[in-house]
Symmetry: C2
C-alpha cells in the first residue's frame, strides 16, 4: 500500500499494534504511534508517538497532524467506553451524536462511526493488512496438521453460524464440536469463550488427549474490513488447546494473524490444525 506519507497508528491493547509498529520501524516507513491509555502495550513507549485517553479525540488528532500523519490505522483492543467516567475533549464531544447513535448497534457500528470521524478530519483510514500484508490470513493449511473431511464440515457449520451471528453485529467467533454449537461469542471475547468451552462436560467436547471440535473466526457480513478484523495469536492457540479443540479456522483474507510463525509453532506443539477457509468453500458446504 502506498499513497501515504506518514502513518498514525492508533493503538489499543494487545500485540497487534506492537507487531505493526515493529514492522514499520523495521521497514523504515515514517510512523507515529498514538497510544490509547490505559490499553496500549508498554512496549509501544519505545516507538515515536504520544499517549492519550480514549476520549481525547481532538488532542490525539492534533498530535498526529502535527507529526505529519496523513493516514491512520485503528487497531488493538479498546474497551467500550463508560460515558459517565470518560474524559471527553471538545472534538470528542462534537462526535458524540454519531457515537451515541452507533453504540447500541454493535461494535462494528461503533468503530465505523469512529473511523468516519477520522476521515472527516482529513485522515485516510487504512486497514492493518494494507500496511502489513503478512498479517492477512492465507487460505489452506498453515502448520503440520490438516483438518480432515469431518472437521471441514464442522468448519462449514461454525462459519455459517458465525455469519448469522455477525449479521446482528454480535461477534465473530463460534465453537462447534461433533456438529453441535457449543458456544457463540458476544461481548466476552474469544479468550473467555474458549475458557467456558473448557468448562463444559467432556461428553460434548474434546480433551487434549482426544481433540474434537473447532473454533471459527470470520468477519461479520456487515464488517468494515479496515477495522477490527478477527484476529488470532498464540493466546488463541493456547485457549483452543485448553478447550480440547482439534483446530482453529479463519476466513482467508478476512482475519489477521499476529506473529504467524509463533502461531504455527504453538499449534504444531499442541497438535491442533490452523486452517484458512474461503467463503465459497463454507457457503457451498
Amino acid at each position: 500500500m502506498s499513497g501515504w506519507r506518514k502513518l498514525g497508528v492508533i493503538a489499543g491493547g494487545g500485540e497487534l499494534p506492537v507487531v505493526l509498529a515493529e514492522h514499520l520501524a523495521g521497514t523504515q516507513r515514517p510512523y507515529f504511534v498514538a497510544r490509547v491509555a490505559p490499553n496500549a502495550d508498554p512496549a509501544l513507549d519505545a516507538h515515536p508517538g504520544a499517549t492519550h485517553g480514549l476520549g481525547q479525540m481532538g488532542a490525539r488528532m492534533d498530535a498526529m497532524r502535527e507529526a505529519g500523519c496523513d493516514a491512520v490505522v485503528l487497531l488493538g483492543q479498546v474497551q467500550r467506553p463508560d460515558l459517565k467516567t470518560l474524559q471527553l475533549d471538545d472534538v470528542a464531544i462534537s462526535m458524540l451524536p454519531a457515537i451515541l447513535a452507533a453504540m447500541p448497534k454493535g461494535d462494528d457500528a461503533l468503530l465505523r462511526a469512529v473511523l468516519n470521524e477520522h476521515e472527516k478530519a482529513g485522515f485516510t483510514v487504512l486497514g492493518a493488512d494494507q500496511v502489513m500484508s503478512d498479517l492477512l490470513a492465507t487460505p489452506g493449511v498453515w502448520g503440520a496438521i490438516a483438518p480432515n473431511e469431518q472437521q471441514k464440515k464442522e468448519i462449514a457449520k461454525a462459519a455459517k453460524v458465525a455469519a448469522a451471528s455477525g449479521a446482528f453485529d454480535i461477534g465473530q467467533g463460534v465453537v462447534v464440536c461433533d456438529g453441535l454449537v457449543l458456544a457463540v461469542e458476544a461481548q466476552e471475547g474469544t479468550d473467555a469463550m474458549l475458557r467456558r468451552v473448557a468448562e463444559l462436560p467432556t461428553a460434548i467436547r474434546g480433551t487434549p488427549q482426544a481433540r474434537r471440535g473447532v473454533l471459527v473466526k470470520r468477519p461479520k457480513p456487515i464488517q468494515e474490513r479496515r477495522i477490527d478484523l478477527p484476529t488470532i495469536g498464540v493466546r488463541t492457540i493456547e485457549g483452543a488447546a485448553g478447550a480440547g479443540l482439534a483446530g482453529i479456522a479463519v476466513e482467508a483474507q478476512g482475519a489477521l494473524a499476529v506473529r504467524r510463525d509463533e502461531i504455527i509453532t504453538a499449534a504444531n506443539r499442541a497438535g491442533i490444525f490452523v486452517y484458512g477457509f474461503t467463503a465459497n468453500e463454507v457457503d457451498a458446504a
Copy 2:
C-alpha cells in the same frame, strides 16, 4: 388435558419435575415418576416411581408400562450423554441410529428423537403445560415492575436474536443491554450465561444500583413444544439480578415458570421486571 389414564413423568434434574409431581399428587391424578439418575431431585423419591440410568430406555419404558402409564411427559435437565460411558440396555441400543443422527444437530433434534421413540413404543407424549397449565408463561407484566418503552425495544431486539440463534438449534437465551447483545446462550445454559454477564465491564452492563438490560428466553422457531420449553425459576431471577439486569422477558405461551409465585416475590424484592411478550409484539417492533 384429559385423554390419559396414568402419566409417566420422566424426570431429569431441577425443580420442574418436583413441581409437576406435587401438582399431580395434589390433584389426585394417577402418575408414576421415572427418575433419571443421577439428575433427578431426591425430593422425587417420595413419589411413586422408579429410578433408572439415562441409557436404561427399555427398563424405564417397561416400568412405566407395568405401572399402567399410557402417556408420558419428559422434563427436567439431563446432560448430553457420553456414549463411551453410558450404560445402554437393548432398547436403547435399538434407538441408537436415530439418536446418533440427531445428536450433532442440536438439543431440540436430540430430544425430538427421544420423544419419537416413546411414541413408537405406544406412549402419548404430552407437554408439561398440557398437564399443568399454570406453568405456562402469561402475557404482560407479572410482578410489581413493568418494562418501560426503551426496555420493550431491548426485549424486541433480544427476541429477534434469540429467534435467529434458535433457528440453528443453538440456544434459547440472549442478554441485551443498551441495545448491545452482551451474551448468546449455547451449551453452557442460562445460569452460566448470566454469570459471565456479571463479569463484563460495568461500562456495558447494569448493576444492582443502576439496573440495565434484559434477559430474553423464547422457544426455538423449530422447537417441538412438548419438550424443553424455555424455563425460568427463582434461580433465573437471582442470576439476572446479580448480572445487573433490569428484567427478564419470556415468550407468553412459549415458556414455563417454575413456582410462579416465588418468581414474582423474588423479582419484586430484587427490583426487576418479569414480562411475557407475544411473538407479534416483538416481531412487529
